[in-house]
């Protein structure tokens, strides 16, 4: 049964706070006149909520930028570090996402999944020889691909919990269970929000289709694959126990099975430890 009303959802997410660690770091860094620019960018890009909220502002039609801004680094070049700092501070002023929620969705494990998927997505882009100027876009896409889940946990925790429980118990994909209980899944919710916020159509598409290949692109292939690697290596957990088969459309991109691809990437444990060091520092 569909229970999600778009307008209500959009208003809710406008007020949704960011993750505790990044809020705390943003408050610290914005109180230090000598804080390094790259540290501020790193903190913002370690939080899917803060990242989408800043991309939303910079991509608004009011700044009429010649191209969509898909990373915080690009945003700094266009609108300046101080504005980005102040935008981050205004997100921080909304409070912090509570570590517990009525859906029993573990937000720390979710964040670890998002951050590792982001890093893996960039790594895959580099492997596919994506231009250097686009690699941070791949990172951001990986970071925000599951944004819809954290929205569900806050906005519709009762039904989201039912979906999480069913997915765990019956070992079915979480997005299928979400659809059953809420009439919509996290990829679709992510798409609705990303569209409302006028994000890059390529990013919107990648969020919408990160579980299917209806509109396969280099970006969606990298997100899909990074997502499966992160799940397979158990880097955090975002509620979906199922590791999906690599679809036929994606296989030629990497020309390797998932296991062989993972082996070819070498030691991936630093990706997890780096993300953990941010979450726990």
């Amino acid at each position: 049964m569909p229970t999600i009303q778009n307008q209500e959802l959009i208003s809710f997410v406008e007020k949704m706070p960011a993750f505790p660690k990044s809020v705390q770091r943003v408050v610290q860094l914005t109180s230090d006149i000598n804080a390094s620019a790259k540290e501020i960018v790193r903190v913002i890009e370690s939080d899917p909520v803060m990242t989408v909220k800043i991309l939303k502002v910079i991509n608004s039609a009011f700044y009429g930028l010649p191209q969509k801004i898909t990373s915080i680094q690009r945003a700094v070049v266009h609108i300046g570090l101080n504005t980005i700092k102040n935008l981050a501070l205004s997100v921080a002023a909304m409070g912090v996402l509570q570590p517990t929620n009525k859906a029993d969705f573990d937000t720390q494990k979710f964040l670890l999944h998002s951050l590792t998927t982001a890093s893996l997505c960039r790594m895959l882009a580099e492997k596919l020889k994506v231009k250097a100027s686009e690699c941070s876009d791949f990172f951001v896409a990986g970071l925000v691909h599951d944004f819809g889940k954290i929205v569900f946990a806050e906005f519709d925790p009762v039904n989201f919990k039912l979906a999480l429980d069913k997915s765990a118990k019956e070992n079915i994909s979480l997005h299928e269970a979400e659809f059953e209980f809420m009439g919509i899944n996290h990829a679709q919710v992510g798409k609705i929000l990303a569209e409302k916020w006028e994000l890059d159509p390529v990013l919107i598409d990648a969020i919408e289709h990160h579980h299917d290949t209806l509109n396969e692109t280099m970006l969606s292939a990298c997100i899909f694959t990074a997502n499966q690697i992160s799940k397979k290596l158990q880097f955090g957990f975002a509620g979906n126990p199922v590791i999906e088969e690599t679809p036929d459309e994606i296989i030629p991109r990497f020309e390797l099975t998932l296991d062989d691809l993972i082996s070819s990437l070498g030691d991936l444990s630093p990706i997890k430890s780096e993300a953990l060091s941010f979450i726990n520092s």
Partner: protein, 293 residues
């Protein structure tokens, strides 16, 4: 077009014997088109003497474009006499602040409050209207076309290009060329540099072939070392931009507030000596001189 600087000083007004030649008022630039349409860039303290001059030509219709809302670019606005006189019209243009989500009306509204000024906005007698404008979208004022572009400063800042009757002017507002926040050994360095190069290209295209290029040149290269990230450019960065844009005249403005007339002239003489082959004229912006392009 006629161009006249009414304020050339950065940050704070600096009256006194040491600034009497170039001027101590903060930023305000008059542009009068051949058809007598009036475009004003910024409302620093220089807009006060300009407003007094305009009282001789009532009624006034003025189009005021604000580059950004730091004090030195808006502080003269409540003292711009035409706003108090019925029959005048002042159209104010500027961008939407990304952090507060407020339009340019805040620049005046915030100053016309009981604690800061004796007259409230509701008491202004001229027709004063606000226009939120977007980068890349031109505004037509008579024959003139004014086009904003987003330029880097600690707050939202528009540069403006004015094209009219076959002539053109570009003013940066406050502007520091973007620098790489990463070190060459960082993984992100190359990618970030490619973003900077794209943006730089966009800026040069917006300034391309202008007859008058007016640039924030607050610092010498030596001073800049201690002021990187403060949002202002140098004489050298202005010269580089003007060369790339193939401008015909380059005006240095936003003079550093502690800079005396003598120091300005000393720096200027040194710049000419260090750059003997400039293909365009370089000029220190000076208050009160009519410049016909």
């Amino acid at each position: 077009m006629k161009l006249r600087f009414w304020g050339v000083r950065g940050s704070i007004a600096t009256p006194g014997p040491n600034t009497v030649k170039y001027g101590g008022n903060t930023t305000c630039i008059e542009i009068t088109t051949d058809n007598n349409d009036l475009i004003i860039l910024d409302a620093g303290t220089g807009i006060h003497p300009f407003g007094l001059e305009l009282l001789k030509k009532l009624p006034v219709t003025a189009h005021l474009f604000i580059t950004h809302t730091h004090w030195d670019h808006i502080q003269g606005l409540p003292f711009f006499s035409p706003i108090f006189i019925p029959g005048n019209e002042v159209q104010i243009y500027g961008g939407l602040d990304p952090v507060t989500n407020e339009g340019i009306e805040r620049a005046l509204g915030v100053q016309l409050q009981y604690s800061y000024f004796p007259i409230r906005e509701a008491e202004l007698n001229a027709k004063v209207e606000y226009n939120t404008i977007k980068p890349g979208e031109s505004v037509s004022i008579g024959n003139a076309k004014v086009t904003p572009i987003l330029l880097s400063h600690p707050v939202l800042n528009f540069g403006y290009r004015i094209d009219c009757d076959g002539q053109s002017i570009f003013f940066t507002g406050d502007y520091e060329p973007v620098f790489n926040i990463y070190q060459p050994e960082d993984d992100e360095y190359e990618e970030y540099q490619s973003f900077i190069d794209q943006k730089q290209h966009e800026i040069i295209m917006a300034m391309k072939n202008v007859d008058a290029l007016i640039i924030d040149s607050s610092y010498t290269a030596e001073e800049y070392l201690a002021k990187k990230g403060w949002g202002h450019g140098t004489y050298a960065s202005a010269i580089e931009l003007a060369a790339k844009a193939q401008a015909k005249k380059l005006f240095f403005t936003h003079h550093e507030p502690t800079r005396t007339d003598d120091q300005l002239e000393h720096i200027y003489a040194q710049l000419l000596k260090d750059n003997p082959n400039l293909k365009y004229e370089v000029i220190l912006a000076k208050e009160g001189v009519d410049i016909y392009l």
